[in-house]
């Protein structure tokens, strides 16, 4: 990696996105620290998914600047370096897991010689071994979520954007997935993980609290607790939300 470790994997300034006349992202300025797991937390409908779609380059930007890995959002060169996982689990239900991974792996440009090994490795990482030749339509919710993550992890992306990857999963599986996320970050990848569940916030290196298209705070969990003088992150979020309501016109 040529870029220095201190450089941010992504940075935005005054980012504005409107959808159907409504302001969804209301002038966001932030950086994603490289090699860290950043949590994007906020209630449903606060703009998390739109921010993630904007990062991976499938959302039109109305104002502001957004740079990822030194390139503007939506640059074709980013397409093989980003991993993206959506809430609707965008995999083909009428294909087996292996067929899904082979297709997406080929699209991502993995060389033919490495494809089989990469698939085995990804399947092992996500504890999907033994399910390779089953149709994805027969998967349970947790298996489906991991099949979707497998596609996102396949090409060993530099930046992973994961939209609520652990929602509805059993606690053991959630713990294991968070371990995977931190292992990837230790290997140099940058992760942005969204959640609407506050108990996941504590697992992140860095946090961005979001509400109604704006950030309430962006700092490490420890810093947020110190600054708000609260004992847990749920209370911190509430304190920040009521404060922002008080100062807003």
């Amino acid at each position: 990696m040529a870029s220095p470790v201190t450089e941010a994997a992504a940075s935005a300034s005054d980012l504005v996105v409107r959808r159907q006349g409504h302001v969804i992202l209301d002038g966001l300025t932030f950086t994603l620290p490289r090699g860290r797991v950043t949590g994007l937390l906020g209630p449903s409908g606060c703009g998390k998914t739109t921010l993630m779609r904007t990062l991976v380059g499938v959302q039109v930007i109305d104002a502001g600047e957004l740079t990822l890995l030194g390139l503007p959002a939506g640059d074709p060169r980013l397409r093989s370096r980003l991993g993206y996982s959506t809430q609707e689990h965008a995999v083909y239900g009428d294909l087996t897991l292996a067929e899904n991974l082979r297709y997406f792996g080929t699209v991502l440009g993995l060389p033919r010689s490495r494809l089989a090994d990469t698939i085995t490795q990804t399947v092992t990482t996500l504890d999907l071994t033994g399910l390779e030749h089953r149709l994805v339509d027969t998967f349970s919710g947790g298996q489906l979520a991991r099949a979707d993550l497998a596609v996102a992890l396949l090409a060993e992306p530099d930046l992973l954007v994961l939209d609520e990857p652990t929602v509805g999963l059993d606690p053991v599986l959630r713990r294991d997935l968070w371990a995977v996320f931190h292992r990837l970050a230790a290997g140099g990848a940058t992760l942005l993980v969204s959640s609407h569940v506050m108990d996941e916030a504590a697992r992140c290196d860095h946090l961005m609290f979001m509400r109604e298209g704006r950030f309430l705070a962006a700092a490490s969990p420890g810093e947020i607790l110190t600054e708000t003088g609260t004992a847990d992150l749920e209370s911190a979020f509430l304190a920040l939300a009521s404060h922002s309501q008080a100062v807003r016109p």
Partner: protein, 263 residues
Amino acid sequence: MTAVAGEAPARARPVLTAPIRWRLTGATASRVLSQLRHDPRTVVMLVVVPSLLMVLLRYVLDNAFALNRFAPEFIGVFPFIIMFIITAVTTQRERARGTLERLMAMPLGKLDLLAGYAIAFGLVALVQVGVVLLISLTWLGVQLPGSVVPLLVVAVLDALLGMSLGLFASAFARTEFQAVQFMPAFVLPQALLCGIVVARDQMTDVLRWLSDVLPLSYAVDAMQRISAGAAWSGTVTRDIVVILGFTVAALAGGALTLRRRTQ
């Protein structure tokens, strides 16, 4: 090196930027065929239903002269209709399931995706038309003065035309249910005006003008001429150019609706 407000860089670029990449096109075609392979009931319907309808036609008409006249036209229309439906539904499903958005965030060109679909469904159409031709010419005793190969070629072109129109139409469908409803809306008027029900030169001016601008009219005309033994005439060439023109235009329209970036 940053995306500046209002510039919308992805939209400013031409629709089809990269040249076709065969590895990605091949992977897409084989993915579409694998999806079909896991759905044997659909495969059986794709291959068997047109032949069953042809058998039905044989007994409904119960007249060798009429059958020889209508059979080639139906062989051109079946794959058109069926490809329209399966493409409209499959593409709508890709949009609804999020796989299209995922692919658009990956290094897959729109042309790779469209050509992959065209190759996969073109092969299906070849099997479909091959079976219906075989049954018509042997069991049903359809007599064709002309040769079979041009008939097969035009029928597959008709199927690709149906595919490209289905792809285009799917962009306007919010649900699979709507996508299926486009079949009567897009296809049945063409079927009524294409010259099977009433010969085109017996229509009133307005209807004939309508018929003149609808692609299925040319598909049916080509099938009629080839099966009548006209071999390869200038009119058949014109028909084929029109069919190809509509196919390319609908694919380009379809490519426009495959947005990398949406509002």
